[in-house]
């Protein structure tokens, strides 16, 4: 039993790490693309702010799945299998350079694992619709409309100003707005892992019921997500900052401000929106808010497809893992196979590596030449 708990804690921290580098782009992609922050500085700043955010938040949500599955039937084995599903989906989407919600991956993994372990009765399908599908459809639209309007307002007003002053000013403003997104992210996402670890410890009786997370849980979850963030998920940063559109600093500022406002106001009203979907919607909105901007809808469409696939795909892997991971031998097998798949994905990523140096120079989309010149702001 104790071995299983250790396995869950370690797997949860690995998930937290992938969550970190998957989501660096949400806060920093446009700041890196516009040159407001140098790539390495940006990801380090995001990492530090995620760590701070992990300690700042007062409430840790003591729920693993937000009511999507019957939590009374969740065992450490189910959590382990669910985390494996989420981690593998995060790695695959990272390889493809596509932003996708880590929360949805975690939910999917847990749903699949619970289904296999306890039957379909353990899953609250109506909650899945209300908490996953509806926000999935609406949050990018809300963030997009807000960012589009803000961008249009900025460009209309800024036509009267001195270009150099405006450029410098918006870059400075972007540093602040990107930091706010990173901080809000830290308070949200590090908590997920803390909740998972704490609830596992409660399940096996190592902590009393309704216990707050111990300091080592808060610290390790914060450090894992911060380390992941500071690694920089360059592939996703490139997609969000450069491949959707040529984002300029006023657009980046408008997008980040919109992301912060939507995430914070939603959290205040008791929604948990996916940071990824909000940030991506905001970037798309900002891209459309400037006249003559090129928006590559094909990239956006691919993202939308990945968002729809996230939950079922992670659920499939999670279910498979739960089916195999009955008993210690199965658990070891699942861990070994997961590590092998992770190694293959890493190996594939080295074929076309994206680094801090190359992040702002995306390859041209295959047959069609890019019509617009590269981003003017350097």
């Amino acid at each position: 039993m104790t071995t299983m708990v250790i396995a869950v804690v370690l797997t949860a921290l690995v998930f937290d790490f992938t969550n970190g580098f998957h989501d660096t782009a949400n806060a920093m992609a446009t700041s890196i693309a516009t040159g407001a922050l140098r790539p390495r500085v940006a990801v380090l700043l995001a990492g530090v702010l995620n760590l701070v955010g992990a300690f700042l938040s007062v409430q840790v949500a003591l729920t693993i799945s937000s009511g999507l599955v019957d939590e009374a039937r969740i065992t450490p084995e189910v959590i382990f299998a669910g985390l494996i599903g989420a981690i593998l989906w995060n790695l695959l989407t990272w390889l493809l350079g596509l932003p996708s919600s880590s929360s949805h991956a975690l939910f999917g993994g847990l749903i699949g694992a619970s289904w296999v372990a306890a039957g379909s009765g353990a899953i609250n399908f109506s909650t899945v619709v209300g908490k996953v599908l509806v926000p999935l459809a609406l949050s990018p639209v809300v963030a997009g409309v807000v960012a589009l309007t803000a961008t249009a307002v900025v460009y209309r007003l800024a036509a009267h100003g001195d270009r150099r002053t405006l450029n410098r000013g918006f870059q400075a403003a972007q540093v602040v707005s990107a930091s706010m997104v990173a901080l809000a992210h830290g308070t949200n996402d590090a908590q997920k892992t803390m909740g998972v670890i704490t609830l596992t410890l409660i399940t096996v009786g190592l902590l009393p019921a309704h216990a707050a997370p111990p300091l080592w849980v808060i610290a390790s979850a914060g450090l894992a997500i911060a380390a992941g963030t500071a690694m920089g998920g360059w592939r996703i940063i490139q997609t969000l900052g450069n491949r959707i559109s040529d984002i300029q600093s006023p657009q980046g500022f408008a997008a980040e401000t919109a992301s912060t406002a939507v995430i914070l106001s939603a959290a205040h009203l008791g929604f948990a929106l996916s940071t990824t979907q909000v940030a991506t919607g905001a970037v798309l909105g900002a891209a459309n808010g400037r006249r003559k901007a090129v928006v590559r809808w094909r990239v956006a469409g691919r993202m939308g497809a990945v968002w729809l696939l996230t939950l079922p795909a992670a659920a499939t892997v999670g279910g498979l893992a739960a089916w195999v991971a009955r008993g210690p031998a199965g658990t070891v097998l699942v861990a070994a196979v997961a590590m092998a798949i992770a190694a293959v994905i890493y190996g594939l990523s080295r074929r076309k590596p994206v680094t801090a140096v190359t992040v702002n120079h995306p390859p041209a989309p295959r047959p069609v030449a890019i019509a617009a010149p590269a981003a003017a702001a350097a």
Binding site: R163, L166, A267, L269
Partner: protein, 82 residues
């Protein structure tokens, strides 16, 4: 299953208002600072004559930046106090 449309509308209205307010304040502040830049010397491409005289521009910039900073502080408070 219930979808809380009124909450969703709340999110939209609040984030719309806050975002447009912040970007407007920051842009106005930069327009104010542009007036100073115009006085200090020729710049890249002054698209149109500055909106404000240099002293008025500085004052506008200061007021707008303070207001924007207050919104940011409120955002920080919202993060911490949640």
């Amino acid at each position: 299953m219930t979808i809380h449309w009124e909450k969703l509308l709340g999110v939209f209205v609040v984030s719309f208002g806050a975002t447009v307010a912040v970007v407007t304040l920051v842009t106005l502040a930069l327009l104010g600072l542009s007036a100073r830049a115009a006085r200090l010397g020729p710049s890249d491409a002054p698209a149109r004559p500055a909106l404000f005289s240099p002293p008025a521009g500085t004052a506008v910039a200061a007021v707008c930046l303070v207001a924007a900073a207050l919104v940011v502080l409120f955002g920080l408070w919202a993060i911490v106090a949640r």
